[in-house]
């Protein structure tokens, strides 16, 4: 057969084959299967997202908790001893601190050595706030306090309040109380035997 001669069989076969090529009809329930699959996958994706969100939140909370824990840790460290003298008192520190520190903890100096200057400062402040080792020096009186003291000195003293002084309480007489002497008679032996 020549190429320029049309072959109706071939044309019809090609058309019919291309119609077959598009495939059969989809099986019934295609829409339902598609929707069910889409919803399942979407739900799974949401759950995965939720899981990641929870994990991230938990991680953030853990970091915050650890940060807070380590931020408060220097304040909780106890002082070496309540009876130890102040570190700032020069004579006591020079005499007592090295031997006492060695007795309390052999690694006392080793603990202090690696501390950074800011941490040392925080620790000292915390120690001072938690337990004052030296009673504060009394301050001089203010002007108002001096005036108040002068006023009390000039006015009545607490000893001379009326009614509290024996000499000035002339109107009040307390009668003497007489108490009769007690007489105790000896016990009779015969009466005691009859009673039995």
């Amino acid at each position: 057969m020549h190429d320029d001669e049309p072959d109706p069989f071939l044309d019809d076969l090609l058309e019919a084959s291309l119609k077959q090529y598009r495939g059969e009809e989809p099986r019934s329930g295609l829409e339902m299967r598609i929707l069910a699959g889409v919803r399942t996958q979407e739900r799974a994706a949401r759950l995965r997202w939720l899981g990641w969100a929870v994990a991230v939140c938990a991680g953030i909370l853990a970091v915050i908790a650890l940060t807070l824990h380590f931020a408060r840790a220097p304040l909780r460290q106890p002082t070496p001893s309540a009876s130890l003298p102040s570190k700032e008192s020069g004579a006591h520190r020079a005499l007592l601190q090295p031997p006492l520190a060695q007795q309390l903890s052999p690694s006392f100096g080793a603990h202090r050595a690696p501390l950074q200057p800011p941490q040392q400062r925080v620790r000292r402040v915390a120690t001072r706030r938690s337990r004052p080792e030296q009673f504060p020096t009394p301050l001089p009186l203010t002007e108002q306090e001096k005036l108040l003291l002068a006023y009390f000195n000039k006015t009545a003293k607490p000893d001379s309040i009326p009614g509290t002084d024996e000499n000035s309480a002339g109107g009040l007489e307390i009668p003497r109380i007489t108490v009769a002497a007690l007489q105790i008679e000896p016990l009779d032996d015969s009466q005691s035997k009859q009673g039995k």
Binding site: Q20, G23, P26, L30, E31, R33, I34, A36, V38
Partner: protein, 190 residues
Amino acid sequence: MIDAGQVILSESVSTTDASGDELEATVREQARLVYRIAYSVLRNHHDAEDVAQETFLRFLRHRKRWAEIRDWRAWLATVAWRVALDRKRRPAEVRLEEAAEVVSKLRSDGAAVDEVAASRQMMSLLERLVSSLPRDLREALILSATEELTSAEISQVLGIPEGSVRTRLLRARAILREKLAALLEHKHAR
């Protein structure tokens, strides 16, 4: 009248949000189109359904931009086409000579055109011939063979002018006819 499938469908996807309703409506209208495009590429029912599901999943995840979509059919067809191409595996090797021989024998025996076209060997032969076409011609022919898309929609999917689609279709058919004729007449002449 509502058939049983629609009742089951409504119950299975009953949602209150608007996107769920929109998805359900779109699936009802366009599932067949998406499936056919996927099948035309993959030539397998299961794979085609998987691609259809993936296409509508992408459609649902794209819901924030639904307002930007002008032609939903073209959008879905494009997504289905791309997903199917991504999944396309190497086609099974068809022994061309053997298939052509069977088709030629059917013709010699006086079988009707529809009978020959429906035969498994003819399908294998056509698949092999289509896959041997140049890519631009093949894509236009596959989308056209679904009989679901117009030339304008095919041009949107492929991103080419509508006139180019028509030209490619004519060229693809001409090449197919030539190759088919060569194969069958070669066997017929033996």
